[in-house]
Amino acid sequence: MVEPAVDLAHGHAHDDHADHGPQGWLKYLWSTDHKVIAMQYMFTGMFMALVGGFMAYVFRMQLAFPGIDVPGFGAVSPGEYNALVTNHGTIMIFWVAMPVLLAAFGNYLIPLMVGADDMVFPKINRLSFQVFFVSTIVILASLFVEGGGFAGAWTAYPPLSAVAEYNLTRLGSTLWVIGVGLEFVAFLLGGINFITTLMNSRAPGMRAFDVPLVVWMIVVASILFMLSVGPLLAGAIMLIFDQTIGTGFFNPAAGGDPILWQHLFWFFGHPEVYVVLLPAMGVVIEIIATFSRKKVFGYRIVIFTVVATGVLSFFVWAHHQFIAGIDPRMANIFTITTLLISVPIAELCFVYIATLYGGSIRLTTPMLWALAFVAEFLIGGVTGIFLGAAGADIYFHDTYFVLAHFHYTFFPIAIIGTFAAFTYWFPKMFGKMMDERLGKWHFWLTIIPFNVIFIPLFVLGMGGQHRRIYNYNLHEDLNSEMFQDMRILATGALLVMLAAQFIFFYNCWKSGRSGPKAPKNPWKANTLEWTTESPPPHGNWHPLRMPVVYRGPYEYSVPDREDDYWPQNEPDGGPLKVIDGDS
């Protein structure tokens, strides 16, 4: 399904300004253009989303109808079930949310939105994707080696993950760690580019507070990632040594401490939530501002809130370990920090809602996705409070309530946020307008089933159903007709949602082929990417006509102006007559 869209990406690689590297498909493969690299990340991520979605299909079928031959897979053994849920989680977070939201849109948007012609280190950028690509092959290969893929949950708690005699997937678990480690390296390389590009390569006149929020948020996310992933990389090295040469860092039988891994993992794992959340929130606020023709309510409040969230996110990690055997007094401290982090996040939601006030709202497809993000993410946010309170977490920990909670955060992030961004920037990326009617069908057929899947799972979690168990009917208390009906309902909704994605791919294919040609600025938005051609040429602007910035990105509906938007690069006197050589 992805093939036709890849061709679209080729479209602008064959451009007049293209550099004089290798020709043909090699040129595509070795391109250092940030837009091409963004597409490579995006399509790899979307392919992996299909893989992760397929896994969800298989294990949901097993849960709804235990023991059946799942069409396209066959009967699911307990070990395969564990491997499926493990790799579904790993892939959806590290190979879908991260590459699409952070890497693809980061790569695509940062240079365009700060008015630069490329990233500051194009070759490092290319290296970043290449490392990521290798990591993708490693993680996919790990599913097919002898013994099967790693099956110890995406958190990979040792000693299960460290000792092959316990996990029975000697090769699979080592490849899993190597794949994840390589993926981290790829994003470290990419992150350096994001941060330095924003810091140093802004267009003349663009001050820190003239930078669009999505760029701010992607860069803050990159910084969070850089400062949190280190301990886990060290932990990954230790885990690989435990697995392969028999050290005992995490194995109590050899004098190690399994809880250490949990600390290393969650010290990264919690900031990681914000690493993927922030780009999605950035995308959403861009879209809300554009389609409500409103200035963002409290631009600086948003930035300070985001930074505060980032800082706080380093001090909440142990709320994943309340009942893992840590000192109970620690749970109290982490309850406080966890509930405190609800304050800035709630504030962001208030800002988003307040931005709508007094607006002139047009419900285009991207706007629908953006609004759905806010509505659905609120559910994810408020259910987190149940889990952050250590007392309630005693019951909820590792139940389906947790599962439903984080799907209500990660689904809006990775899926709704991505579709919002994709539909909003599609005209820019591919030079064609998307079909609105198909877009809206796709929207409703994704959003409604999504809620039908996960609301029953909250109830099942409250009913005491724990995660990662391949057949709940073996548990007498969980083997009730009502519970089984809910499982079947969730699975049925999942099938509808997965089927609805074909509308999306069809829409991409059809619009990319025969959609109306997109003008430079179809949404009448202010940010710099809309001042160049759709799709932008290599180098983004003519080298002699690089944009100069005069104001912030959200000057919509300024009184006493004829237009209700005011592009960042337009001098106060009105549109500048561009003369060659004037920059």
Binding site: A116, D118, S201, R202, P231, G248, M546
Partner: protein, 189 residues
């Protein structure tokens, strides 16, 4: 052809230098995570002191001296590069690489000695951390030396002289990591 983006410096600091600092920030947390884990373990296992007693403090001290000296030559290389004297900068960089080679040579001897006496990475927790932390550091030394060789080659021809400072910053960092490792692994007994 370099992108226009690469030539800009909105912060007033050269982009390469910014990037090196961010690389170091991420390296700090990698080593920080490893060493913090080690320290937590060490506090809970006083018996590791017996294992630490086996390490040869004299050799460790010599290696510390070697690394510090190589950092000095890296500074001298930077000075020469500032003056535009690429040849001299390259010469000092080769000295630094020599220091790295001595460091790795000494380390190899040390490990050979310890392993041949039965103290391997799987012996106990202390040795696991000893080989992992020192190994990760040695990997950084080797990688730094290789990059430095490329920088020196260019510098000798008078090209990309600003990179001499960048690799110098990285080299000081490698040095500082060792300054933490040396007392933690060798001196604390």
């Amino acid at each position: 052809m370099k992108p226009i983006a690469t030539t800009r410096a909105a912060t007033g600091t050269e982009t390469g230098k910014l990037a090196v600092w961010w690389v170091l920030a991420s390296e700090v947390v990698i080593f920080g995570g490893l060493l913090a884990s080690y320290v937590m373990f060490r506090l809970g296992h006083p018996e590791w002191a017996d294992a630490a007693a086996v390490t040869n403090t004299h050799i460790g001290a010599f290696n510390t001296w070697v690394l510090l000296t190589s950092s000095l030559t890296a500074v001298l290389a930077h000075q020469a590069a500032e003056r535009g004297d690429g040849k001299k900068a390259a010469k000092y960089l080769y000295f630094t690489i020599g220091g790295a080679a001595v460091f790795i040579g000494v380390k190899t001897y040390e490990w050979w000695y310890e392993i041949s006496h039965g103290y391997t990475i799987t012996s106990n927790g202390f040795w696991a951390f000893y080989y992992t932390a020192a190994g990760l550091h040695a990997f950084h030394v080797i990688a730094g030396a290789i990059i430095m060789a490329f920088v020196a080659r260019d510098a000798a021809r008078g090209l990309e002289l600003h990179r001499v400072e960048l690799i110098g910053i990285y080299w000081h960092f490698v040095d500082i990591v060792w300054i933490f490792l040396f007392p933690l692994l060798y001196i604390a007994k």
